[in-house]
């Protein structure tokens, strides 16, 4: 990476006087929530990403319109990262802006890091934490208990608050964060996937319901239920597992859109209901 050879140069400059107080960085973490304020397909999060940093860029560049304009232009380039980790990236970049690093270095770092951060963030927050929270909270809610939504909310409030220490971390680590991200991102994603896949296995067993109603009369007193006497004897929840794996196959290999699968599921369910199968 072109950025690497410049690293020593950056480290030497690190003794510069700090412009930002701890309070500033906490504010940056809160402002980082604006990341998606003007989300669009052309630049994705660029508008919000720039806006959140602007008060702090202004503090660095003051009345130097040219420098501020350059910083804004760089930040308005395409970016798509994870909202929970955007503060971390902003903190990191602002530590460089504060040292008045070369614009190409700052831009290069941003481009190099937003993708991996998005990958880690999606793996942890969308694909692992959400299934776990759903698996635990939904059953409380369905029993009519407020514990479900309250637990859900408190966990996600904590996650939001974590943006503050993460932003401080990004700012304090500066360029040193790069090696850490590169080394840890793969193992983090892997570990998160393992946890996520385990929980999905449980979710399938607990929350996908397929109950076959067909009864086969053997003689006058005896009736064989296809569900309890056949499918449940093979393995409990075998039909939910089979249907989920079918969905997985269609989504992955046949690239069928989820909306199509939702609608098809409804058609199959209604037809089966009409025929008395399900």
């Amino acid at each position: 990476m072109a950025v690497k050879w410049r690293r020593e140069m950056i480290l030497v400059k690190e003794s510069n006087k700090k412009i930002f107080t701890k309070k500033d960085i906490t504010k940056l973490a809160i402002f980082s929530s604006l990341l998606q304020a003007s989300f669009n397909y052309e630049r994705m999060q660029a508008g919000g990403f720039t806006l959140a940093q602007l008060p702090f860029l202004k503090k660095i560049y003051k009345d130097d319109k040219k420098a501020l304009s350059n910083a804004m232009k760089d930040n308005l380039e395409f970016i798509n990262t994870h909202p929970n980790l955007a503060g971390f990236l902003m903190g990191l970049l602002l530590s460089l802006e504060e040292n008045r690093e070369d614009r190409d270095v700052i831009r290069g770092l941003k481009v190099a890091l937003f993708g991996p951060l998005a990958g880690i963030g999606d793996a942890i927050f969308w694909f692992t934490l959400l299934p776990i929270m759903v698996g635990i909270c939904a059953s409380f809610a369905m029993q009519g208990s407020l514990i479900g939504p309250l637990l859900f909310f408190s966990v996600y409030l904590t996650i939001w608050l974590l943006r503050i220490p993460l932003t401080h971390l990004g700012y304090n680590l500066g360029v040193n964060a790069i090696e850490i991200i590169k080394e840890q991102s793969k193992i983090f994603s892997k570990v998160a996937s393992i946890l996520g896949v385990t929980v999905i296995g449980g979710l399938i067993a607990n929350y996908v319901h397929i109950n076959v109603l067909i009864q086969i009369p053997i003689n006058q007193e005896h009736v064989v239920s296809l569900q309890t006497d056949f499918f449940d004897k093979i393995f409990p929840n075998i039909l939910p597992l089979g249907y989920t794996l079918l969905m997985f196959y269609l989504l992955k290999k046949k690239k069928v859109s989820p909306v199509t699968l939702i609608i098809t599921t409804f058609i199959i369910a209604i037809l089966s209901s009409y025929l008395g199968v399900l």
Partner: protein
């Protein structure tokens, strides 16, 4: 059978605006059906229905995430309308999920439309950047977010208040097999979401973990997935230390040198 009063409809619009902006920014996760359903139930004076509808919809939407800039069927309209339909028509929340889906798709397509059209603001943003105009850039972000907020308010008001009589007529005229069909579909629906999750996470090497999770949940009777999550954490930790040892042994070959952005 209940009716939604004008005050309730306006309050629901207000809630939709707040959680709508939260979804737009992905900040506090108030936009998840489990929260939206509960809030809707509170406003309608029937928290239990809200909790049940919210929990059910949450399960169906667990895998439908906006990760990577895609837009899933809208979780807010799904959670809100499932609760409202169950409350106003007296139908089972399981059946109501299906009836709420068209509203969810509608909002999904409105947001997708904004994703495309908001691109036009970017050339303006470039001009503001050229002039170092902070206020101008702030204005763009305020306008786009306000458009989204307003859309949620209007769509929810129309769906909840204006469409309620139509909804009742539809539900009343549904034959039993159709109602039951919707209920069955509601039970199978989470499979699509879980399939979506597997699509991003599943690799052949993770098959043992899927089997372990499935097996435990099938044979340990427990009201929620906590035991599975705990075992999942144990397996993840085991793999973490194992991989780290390997990393140390190979002198760093494991984690270096390739594109990790597709590591999930």
């Amino acid at each position: 059978m209940h009716s939604v009063t004008l005050t309730q409809a306006l309050l629901l619009s207000l809630v939709a605006i707040i959680v709508g902006v939260d979804f737009w920014l992905e900040a506090f996760f108030l936009f998840r059906p489990i929260i939206v359903g509960t809030l809707t139930g509170l406003i309608l004076g029937d928290v239990t229905t809200g909790l049940i509808a919210g929990g059910l919809t949450e399960l169906a939407f667990a895998g439908l995430t906006p990760a990577g800039g895609t837009q899933p069927p809208n979780p807010i309209l799904a959670g809100l309308m499932t609760t409202v339909i169950a409350y106003t028509t007296g139908t089972d929340p399981k059946t109501a999920i299906g009836l709420a889906l068209p509203f969810s798709f509608l909002m999904q397509y409105i947001i997708l439309f904004y994703y495309s059209t908001f691109s036009f603001f970017m050339s303006k943003a470039d001009r503001y950047a050229e002039e170092a105009d902070i206020k101008g850039l702030a204005k763009i972000n305020i306008i786009t977010t306000s458009i989204v907020a307003l859309s949620y308010g209007i769509i929810v008001f129309l769906s909840v208040y204006v469409a309620q009589d139509l909804m009742k007529v539809i539900v009343q005229s549904m034959p039993a097999w159709l109602t039951h069909g919707f209920e069955v579909a509601g039970g199978i629906l989470p499979a699509v979401g879980f399939g979506m999750l597997l699509r991003v996470m599943m690799k052949a090497e993770y098959t043992p973990y899927l089997i372990i999770g499935f097996f435990i949940a099938s044979f340990i009777p427990f009201s929620n997935l906590l035991p599975v999550a705990v075992i999942g954490v144990a397996l993840a930790l085991y793999e973490y230390f194992h991989t780290k040892d390997q990393f140390a042994f190979d002198g760093g070959k494991v984690a270096k040198g390739d594109d990790f952005s597709e590591g999930i």
